[in-house]
């Protein structure tokens, strides 16, 4: 049985949300701010557990895993899938947290609260789209920017001590001449390097609903800002629990660690040219490895244009924004045409001057 958590302001009874600007819980109605611990303590003092109303799930579709919840503020139905952990009532906007999604083994170890608010996200997105030359103008105008939403994405954080044996290919080139010929000797070497390093907090996307490439594109996240998980941080945002477990995520982590091993010890190959790592022959051994479950903040906007889906994501901690943009083909070919005319004329003018 899942529970809905709605955090109520002790002062005015309004729905309290986590405010990224002040990094505290804030009532949007009376502007009262609370630390998370303060809010919980106030609610206990009041003996009012109304803020943690237990509401039964109205219905669950066993086939699809979709669940329907009832909003305690307005009675409206809130629909979520099997992994939805935080949402808002579509009728009254009341932020709710599905408590059951984070109970027991499903409880995250860490969360990085949002540092940047929706306004900053919208500004960044406008800049990301607006400054690109070959984006269709209509796309710039019709991307429903207000629909951007803050999402906590489940991540598996891998930490380990790495023992690496890396193999590189390298060359040495020697040149000399005699009276008749110029000589070039190219010697090939296999370069074996061994070393150790540590990795801390390497994130791998734990949600199948989130595109892994998109999540890696908004990295890096700084784990120093991570705090012990509390459902209060989710208020006002959307969140999902993981549906890709750590074992499934481990392969990607090892792949990135292997590449890091090649990059880290590349600098020990001085004196050789055209050095490249041989990934197949590189071996890593992970010691003292650990894996933690965390929620990372991302501002997301999904839009579609001419039948194609576009997703934009902004790192809710650092502000890094990514998202592929459509190409205005007319603008592209117009630019090619103008440049062709200019360059072609210039090249012919040079040829004419040389012929003179």
């Amino acid at each position: 049985m899942s529970d809905l958590l709605e955090y109520k302001c002790p002062c005015c009874g309004g729905a309290v949300e986590f405010n990224s600007a002040v990094q505290r819980m804030k009532c949007p109605f009376c502007d009262t701010e609370f630390d998370i611990d303060e809010l919980k303590a106030a609610q206990e003092d009041l003996g009012n557990t109304a803020s943690e109303k237990e509401t039964e799930v109205k219905s669950v579709d066993e086939a699809t895993g979709m669940a329907v919840y009832v909003c305690q503020s307005c009675g409206g139905e809130i629909i979520g899938d099997g992994t939805t952990a935080a949402s808002s009532c579509p009728y009254c906007g009341n932020p709710v947290v599905m408590k059951g999604q984070f109970s027991g083994d499903l409880r995250p170890d860490l969360v990085i609260p949002f540092k940047l608010d929706k306004k900053a996200a919208k500004e960044a997105l406008k800049k990301h789209i607006g400054t690109k030359k070959f984006v269709p103008k209509i796309f710039k105008d019709e991307n429903h920017i207000d629909e951007i939403k803050g999402v906590y994405v489940p991540e598996w954080l891998f930490s380990a001590d790495v023992d690496a044996d890396v193999v590189y290919k390298g060359q040495k080139v020697r040149e000399w001449s005699d009276s008749e010929f110029d000589y070039v000797e190219t010697s090939c070497y296999d370069l074996f390097r061994n070393g150790k390093f540590s990795v801390d907090g390497l994130p791998v996307d734990g949600s199948s609903k989130m595109d892994d490439t998109l999540m890696e594109a908004v990295e890096p996240f700084d784990i120093k800002d991570a705090v012990e998980f509390s459902t209060a941080y989710l208020a006002g945002y959307v969140a999902d629990r993981y549906d890709v477990d750590s074992e499934q995520s481990k392969a990607r982590a090892e792949e990135r660690i292997t590449q890091s091993a090649i990059d880290t010890f590349m600098k020990t190959t001085n004196g050789y040219e055209n050095v490249s790592g041989i990934e197949d022959r590189t071996r890593i051994e992970l010691k003292n490895s650990s894996c933690r479950y965390a929620l990372y903040p991302v501002w997301l906007l999904n839009t579609s244009w001419k039948g194609e889906k576009f997703t934009f994501a902004m790192n809710g901690q650092t502000g890094k924004i990514v998202g592929d943009l459509p190409l205005d083909k007319n603008a592209f070919w117009k630019s090619v045409g103008v440049l062709t005319a200019i360059l072609g004329s210039a090249i012919y003018a040079i040829a004419w001057l040389i012929a003179r």
């Binding site: 010929f181 595109d211 594109a217 020990t268 090619v336 045409g337 440049l339 090249i347 012919y348 003179r356």
Partner: protein
Amino acid sequence: MTKKTVALISAVLICLMLCVPALAANGTYVSFFDGINIKDTQAAELDRMARDIRTKYDFPAYYFIVDDIGNNSDIYEYTKSIYNEKSAGMSGVCFVAYLNDDVDYTDYSSEQTYLYVTDGAKVLFTEEVQQAVYDGYDNASTYYDSAKEYYNSISALLDRNSDKAAQIVEAGETAEIGTALIKDKTGTVSTVQREKLNEKLTAVSNECKCNFYVAITDSLDGMTSDDYAAKYYNDNKYGFGDKKDGVLLLICFDKENGNSWAVYRSEGVKKFYSDATTKKLMKPVAKKLGAKDYTGAVELYADNFSAQYGKHGSPAIYWLPLSFLIGFAIAFIVTKIRTGNLKSVVAQRSAGSYVKEDSIVEGKSNDVFISSDVKRTAKASSNSSDDKGSSTSGKF
């Protein structure tokens, strides 16, 4: 026939006989003014001696006794002027004795004499040799004897130093318009023809301010005709002005490898004569060479190449579409690069941001040699580090 008639005819004949020595005293290489008593046979003999020297060594040697130096300021200017006029600047010598009214003909020491020696001939005609010529003139009893002694000594000098004689012939004068522009090692063209052709080449060179040369040889010394022409041009320091502007037509009669021609254009003029243009201009010239009309070929060469001089080329017609094709390729690549910022969703390659910097410890290393490959390329050869002209060649 009356006695009067016979007497008149006899007088005319006697006068003619008296005049003949004066008339016969002028040859191609020797000249004695009227007041000098020299027989026609003597003058002819002296002229023949000079011709022999010219034929054998291609070395002009002139001997003039004059009583008038025209508008020239002195004997030196006169001698140089008349030598250049007659020899078209070939390497050689010219002796002039200037006898004016104040001179006692019986006292040679009172006459003005000057032996002009070209720069190229100074390798043989040292100060000592020149002095010997002057001494010979002073010591001779007659003008005929002095002239004969002059030619005998020149012939002996060239005989003794035949290698240096060849150098004199090969060495060109300072490259100014009007110097010898045609050299013939094979005797294909006669001296008279050569002088006429030289006049033609000089005229077109003057007009174009660019020297047009012709060299006729029977051996390329193992080189290609292009290389030989380039070397010949540069070794002889041909060309006009600082840029050494000039065109050389090399004609080679090689019994073993076949007859060939080559046209070398200096750096400053090759813009007027591309390979295609040169071949086009030489086509009728080569035809004449094949028909053994060598004089006509050289004249046609002079006409064709002088007409082409100064005509600036324009780029070949294919450059117009090619320019825009290249422009399109560059424009496409540049625009494609500019659209690269539309794609920003890229997976991380490694875990670099999560590696603890102070945790890196380097361990063992081992480098193993696998294989080696040696490539060699032949060095390009160049005949002359200063040679920036180009040459085109063909057969006839």
